[in-house]
Symmetry: C3
């Protein structure tokens, strides 16, 4: 399997490069890019895993989420530059939904097929669920509702204020977790780590992580350019492409690492990847994009469409409810996947 | 008391039969039907209780919910056939509200007057609350919100998709509870079951259960025909009749059994009846009706009115919050009843 | 500090009195009143603390909330009399938001800077969160949503019904806590109470409490009269004044006492003040005002604006999520304050 992914990377990246130069038609580029990203994601997953073994589950999880979302941030900046604000907001929504429902759902499900009940730290759950409610239910809903009786300038001011508050709280949260309350979060799957050896050395892991991230960023950009054609060919709306397609491909890295961890019964790391990545998108990537958009021709307010917001809010409530006992099983995973499917059909038909 | 119910059944059922043949006016039929159903409900309750003692609390609870909702399913199919989609959706809403707020509320309250604090299994609570959020908050809200910017055909497609997903997850949930994670749910009120003896034999219980269910179905149908007249006479809207009247009478069986169990301090069974019945309505009866309606002159989308949806969502959040510690007392029961009263007044005035 | 407050009270109260007689301009009266109320609040805080040491945390908390809200009730009746229904509803909203997010947030934050993790009784949390959901999510949302398809008369009838149910349940809750389930709530911060001595005798505390409350009521009334001018001068909307300014100044007493308690690690009392006060506003002050308004020229329905309602609902969900483990730390406090800031900016820009 790993050998196959290696071949896919060494064939896929040059192929996409050549394809983009010779202006290959969009459908083969789309398929090539998807496959290459999935292969690259496996490398990112393995490199992160090696690093995680060396650095402990928390830093490993953070690394993962960071490398997954660096890609998204880069793609979004290009999209913003092209003035496609709707697609940026849709892909942020898709990231939140994809991580909360799809990545966590597959992790719970796949892990649950192997282990009857899997456990993860309650302190992390508590921290994560508080911030999920804060970000999705307070910081996303308030601008949405209040903007309905505001003019555009006030809406933008509110968006900027909310963005700065989100970033500040996100940074304060890191300080809380890594400095003032470090010991509290240190527990978890100690039983599993005993004799596990990293696949690659620290140095090699970091190198592979960096190279793969750059390659993913390049391939992803080619992928984005095929979306318009795809919409026309298959009758997909921009909303569906942003929320579903970008989310699945753009979160392939988190996806791969989270499931790998879940199947090794290191559910702490899997949850940290899925929810940590969600929080990073909601509390860091989204507000940063609002602030960056101020220097672009068209500014982006932090105002989602009603279906986007409702999907994120219901997904958040479901995830918090299912995870708040620090246990998971295959049926909880299936419930999350069912929710993702319902929301996916909804966006497809919209 | 049991003797009185016996007399009511043996007088009531023939009386309703005769009344429907000689076209008795609607008000006496309404009163007769209600009384007969309540009496029949007591038999269903006692038969289920006997079976529950023989088969354990879980299967007993499932039996109860099934027999209560078989009646509802039959009534709804007749109503669908008459093209009264609004009343079907309203009575589904009423079933959810009636079970969550009224049945659970009276159980908590009546049981709480006798016992200071009553306990029920946390694993059941967790399973139930996850599915309640999934069904009411994801599967009911998404079609509602998304349908507002969709045409009728897309709305129906979405409704069909959501319905199939709901039924699939419901069946997967039974598989989870009864097969893969059977042991997890087996605990509970073992202390109370010690030497309890069933009132009737297994055979006799099943016979009474079947006969009573058939009788309830017949009487309920007569009851439904009186609703139009009642609306005119008393100024009740169809929404109020569906949400409140159908809910109270249609859930008389669950009502009776749940309270009986609560007062015997078998709160596990009482909660299983109330919430299990809610889940069966939301995840099985409602989607089955959507699918059945496809073969009828007018199809029914899974789109409630906004007041119906808001009432179900707020009720769900309240019940999950009150039950998530696995404990109940009279004040929690009163809180649920107060919520039911507020929603009831709302529908009455609408 | 206490000496400074003493001077402020003995200078401030007469100054406001003289100012109101000689018709001093509104800006100095506004500043004078605010300072005086803050100073008076410190006396109320110290008197309540003395009483709390004598009477135990629960009665102390109740005393506090009562004396804080007596002031609000008096101001609101004056405002109702002037027909300013919008400001009354806004200040009720502000009280809920101020107590839940600001008072609780500062308590968690300030207490958390001194103590790594602070604990409070889970039985109280459970009781409070159940009633918060009942009051804000059921009793406030239902009239809001249902009134959108109702005429004014039905809306008022619904408001009256909801108000009577709220008050009844509030009184039943006191009966539950103080009579039938008294022992359950009696635990808590027993470790801290050991040898603590009250600052003032019981008699002196009660006298100071009464005098300060009367003074606060008088000064607050003067303060209210300056609001119109302030709105004009600074471009503040009535909504912003009601929700933010009235909330901060009007809850200064709870504020001061709660923080004092939090910094003494008596988090049980701090939470009881903040959440108890919220519940008293939502379940007692608000419905009493609806009933009182029936005897005034213009009746007040229990229908908030959509932004007011959404702010209260999201704040409630956040607080319940953060407090349901019975633990707090500085970061949870900061999260609550960040939510308050977002909502504050929203109302400022509205």
């Amino acid at each position: 399997m790993n050998r196959l992914f290696l071949i896919m990377v060494f064939l896929g990246v040059p192929a996409v490069l050549v394809g983009s130069i010779i202006h290959l038609s969009d459908i083969p580029i789309f398929i090539l890019s998807c496959l290459t990203i999935i292969a690259l994601a496996s490398f990112i997953g393995r490199a992160t895993e090696s690093l995680a073994i060396v650095s402990g589950p928390r830093v490993g999880g953070l690394l993962n989420a960071t490398f997954g979302n660096a890609v998204e941030l880069i793609i979004s900046i290009f999209t913003l530059k092209a003035g496609l604000i709707g697609i940026v907001l849709a892909s942020l929504t898709g990231s939140v939904l994809g991580n909360l429902l799809l990545v966590l759902g597959v992790s719970f499900f796949a892990g649950g097929l192997k282990y009857k009940t899997q456990r993860f730290g309650l302190h992390d759950v508590k921290y994560n669920s508080g911030l999920l409610i804060f970000a999705v239910i307070v910081a996303f809903i308030i601008p949405e509702i209040f903007s309905q009786t505001m003019d555009d300038s006030a809406t933008l001011t509110l968006s900027i204020g909310v963005s700065i508050i989100l970033i500040t709280l996100y940074v304060a949260g890191l300080f809380f977790k890594l400095v003032t309350h470090r010991g509290v979060f240190a527990s978890g799957d100690t039983t599993n780590e005993e004799e596990e050896l990293p696949e690659w050395s620290k140095k090699k892991s970091i190198l592979i992580l960096l190279l793969s991230t750059v390659a993913v960023a390049f391939v992803s950009e080619q992928l984005v350019h095929t979306f318009e054609t795809l919409g026309e060919k298959f009758g997909w709306t921009e909303l569906f492409i942003g929320v579903i397609i970008v989310a699945i491909v753009g979160n392939a890295a988190e996806h791969f690492s989270a499931i790998t961890m879940a199947m090794k019964n290191r559910m702490d790391v899997a949850v940290e990847i899925a929810v940590g990545s969600t929080l990073q998108v909601a509390m860091f990537v989204a507000p940063i994009l609002v602030l960056i958009s101020l220097f672009m021709p068209e500014s982006m307010p932090l105002v989602f469409t009603i279906p986007e917001l409702v999907a994120m809010v219901t997904a958040t409530l479901l995830v918090i409810n299912l995870s708040n006992d620090g246990e998971s099983n295959w049926f909880e995973g299936l419930t999350l996947l069912a929710a993702y499917l319902i929301i996916g059909i909804g966006f497809f038909l919209l």
